[in-house]
């Protein structure tokens, strides 16, 4: 094909030369064009020779080395409660004093929250492997380490290892991909900082329909002590998620989830969740996302059943490539449990207001100003409103994969 083109060009140039009015200049230009065409053809042939026969290999960033990224999260923080008092906070009915794990942003002034190594690699034609090694200042934690299948038929995929459950909307997300620096109150209250993150197996199926429908089941060890805690493998999670687009720009994602497990005393504990996310795309770099989630736990304790639940709802507006602003409201809406230990303390209206302003100079770095007015905690035996302002810096250096929706 290219040859034909060249031939016709030659023919064309000789014709042009016959015309006397056309000066040498024009001829020279055509010669230059021909030379350039030949040069680019040589370039192309060279490139073709260099490229391997397998034309479908992609995304590989280092021949066989895994993609490795370092994620670093640090903060400067101010809080109107002393560190020693804050670390012993209680949330009535959920977290007893001294029982709160605070791995991120625990202290006033500076916090090195973590340095995380995120590793991803295709293993072979059948598996992909992922590991997230979370390093706190004095410990190394395997946040997640799992494999997923890539070759199962009919829309199935199996994940095995230690992983964050796909329960609800937020459970699966890593801290650095949250829209706010503090964990949603109901997740913190029911599951603790790592949410449902456990060893086990997950089976997911995507329906072959025009509308996105995904169903998943998981069997997990059940080591989450806040809601479960019996370590005979006994935690079962199931969920159904679906999404529709309305027009080009509005997409709606909803899900229902359930987790059934046992407490340390071998009594039943169930958590249910519903979530809804609406996203309006306003441009390439601008969007409005409204995300809400409600979780409820039914936990058998001796002869009665504790019924507790709460929600968060958040609105995040990205107004240009570099800036976002967001607000979130957290609330415990149901707290039917034994609150006799808090006699004389107001245990109603547990809630928190959060606002944030984010600056992302580049997709790999983020500075965020996060303010929260927290009315959910008991400090030193009395309800106390807590105000926290922090500036966090998060970077992802290296080969860090894109985040899912």
């Amino acid at each position: 094909m290219q040859k034909k083109l060249l031939l016709s060009l030659f023919a064309f140039s000789s014709l042009m030369a016959n015309s006397e009015t056309d000066a040498l200049k024009e001829q020279l230009q055509l010669q230059q064009e021909t030379t350039q065409k030949l040069l680019s053809q040589v370039e192309m042939l060279e490139a073709q020779q260099q490229s391997s026969a397998n034309t479908s290999a992609s995304f590989s960033q280092n021949a066989y080395l895994p993609d490795i990224a370092m994620i670093l999260n640090i903060s400067a923080l101010s809080r109107d409660v002393k560190n020693s008092e804050y670390e012993n906070y209680a949330i009535a009915g959920f977290i007893e004093s001294g029982d709160a794990e605070i791995p991120f942003n625990a202290k006033r002034s500076f916090n090195l929250n973590y340095a995380e190594f995120a590793i991803h690699s295709v293993v072979d034609p059948y598996f992909e492997a992922f590991a997230y090694l979370h390093m706190h200042p004095s410990e190394l934690e395997i946040d997640e380490a799992f494999v997923t299948t890539t070759s199962l038929p009919a829309g199935f995929r199996i994940k095995a290892g230690k992983f964050k459950s796909a329960f609800g909307r937020l459970n699966e997300k890593h801290q650095h991909s949250w829209s706010f620096d503090e964990q949603a109150l109901i997740y913190k209250s029911l599951f603790g900082p790592d949410a449902i993150s456990d060893a086990g197996v997950q089976l997911q199926w995507v329906a072959p329909t025009d509308t996105y429908i995904m169903a998943g089941v998981e069997t997990l060890q059940g080591s989450n002590e806040r809601s479960f805690g019996d370590e005979d493998p006994n935690l079962f999670v199931g969920y159904l998620k679906s999404s529709i687009d309305i027009g080009d720009n509005l997409s709606i994602l909803g899900g229902v989830s359930a987790a059934h497990g046992q407490t340390e005393k071998k009594q039943s504990s169930n958590v249910y969740g519903v979530d809804l996310t609406l996203r309006e795309q306003l441009g390439s770099y601008s969007s409005l996302v409204w995300q809400s989630e409600y979780l409820q736990r039914e936990k058998d304790v001796d002869t009665s059943t504790d019924s507790q639940g709460g929600l968060y709802t958040q609105l995040v507006y990205q107004f240009n490539k570099n800036h976002s602003v967001g607000i979130r409201y957290d609330r415990i809406t149901k707290n039917e449990t034994d609150l006799s230990a808090y006699a004389g303390v107001d245990t109603d209206n547990l809630e928190r207001y959060t606002g944030m302003l984010e600056y992302k100079p580049f997709p790999m770095s983020r500075l965020r100003l996060n303010y929260s007015h927290d009315r959910s905690k008991i400090i030193n035996g009395t309800r106390q409103d807590i105000n926290t302002v922090m500036i966090t810096l998060n970077i992802a250096a290296g080969a860090h994969g894109a985040h899912s929706y």
Binding site: L5, Q29, E33, Q61, T209, Y212, S251, A402
Partner: protein, 293 residues
């Protein structure tokens, strides 16, 4: 409910005994339609309204990928920010990395602007070179051939038809290019600036000189210092045309235009990005018209 779903499935399969092909962008989709004809059912994932680097990986795209027989991608790193998680979560073994149903067109393209060193200190540079090759109409036959060969491999029963389509399309395209190139001869030597290096393949092909970019580094928003330097350079070199894409902010280009008497032209980066660029020919005609008017 289940029965209805199953019945719909059976009916859909019977009605469209064709290949389901997803393409990441619209120009690739338009070329696929030309060589695939009625035998392929083409879905474009990334709307040409948006920055191709920042397509939102919304869940509806998962259901599109779930049933694809073939995924045709641009490659060159441009989809790195949105496509991998979609492939991971669509649970479709046909289109996994390394599978027969994933076609990365960049492997067929003589990529230009390959950086000798790669670091994010230089912004969003792609190690494989400039990925915006679809602005050069001379690469269309290469793309069409790559796609046709893949379709022949996946649907060998209809190989003859794909070959015929490809031959007819290629011949038509060469005819089209003759006229196209002739029309652009006067454009050689023209100087322009662009927002992002979106049009380098076209500019290089037709001898148009790009003397600078509005963004200081790829993917980095304009700074006043850089804008002023660009202004000076444009004045010195007598640049009168600023190439603006549809998705970046236009404020900076307008500011520069006002200071230099240059003209801002909005050039499509993909089929359908601006009005009147809905077909392949119209798309390339619009590019030529806007850049060389």
């Amino acid at each position: 409910m289940k029965k209805i779903v199953l019945i719909t499935l059976v009916v859909t399969t019977a009605l469209f005994a064709s290949l389901r092909v997803d393409t990441t962008y619209s120009t690739l989709g338009a070329i696929t339609k030309r060589v695939g004809g009625d035998l392929v059912n083409v879905t474009v994932l990334g709307s040409s309204k948006y920055d191709p680097h920042f397509i939102v990986p919304k869940p509806s795209l998962l259901s599109k990928l779930r049933r694809a027989d073939l995924l045709i991608m641009n490659g060159g790193g441009i989809e790195l920010g949105w496509l991998p998680p979609l492939i991971q979560n669509a649970h479709n073994r046909n289109i996994q990395n390394g599978a027969k149903g994933l076609l990365d067109i960049s492997h067929f393209i003589p990529m230009i602007d390959k950086p000798s060193t790669v670091s994010r200190a230089f912004g969003d540079v792609h190690a494989e070179g400039n990925p915006h090759y679809t602005t050069d109409p001379h690469l269309v036959p290469i793309i069409a051939k790559a796609i046709a060969e893949k379709l022949m491999q996946l649907d060998s029963e209809n190989a003859d038809i794909y070959q015929k389509n490809l031959d007819a399309f290629t011949q038509k395209w060469q005819e089209y290019l003759k006229g196209y190139d002739a029309g652009l001869r006067s454009c050689r030597g023209k100087k322009v600036v662009q927002y992002h290096e979106l049009y380098n393949y076209f500019l290089k092909r037709y001898g148009v000189e790009s003397i600078g970019n509005i963004e200081p580094l790829p993917g980095i928003a304009p700074s006043s210092k850089h804008t002023l330097a660009l202004l000076m350079k444009m004045k010195k070199d007598g640049v009168k045309t600023i190439l603006q894409d549809i998705y970046h902010e236009k404020k900076t280009a307008k500011f520069i235009a006002a200071k230099t008497d240059a003209q801002v032209v909005v050039v499509p980066h993909d089929v359908g990005a601006v009005k009147g660029s809905e077909t392949l020919e119209k798309f390339y005609n619009t590019i030529a018209e806007k850049i060389c008017q």
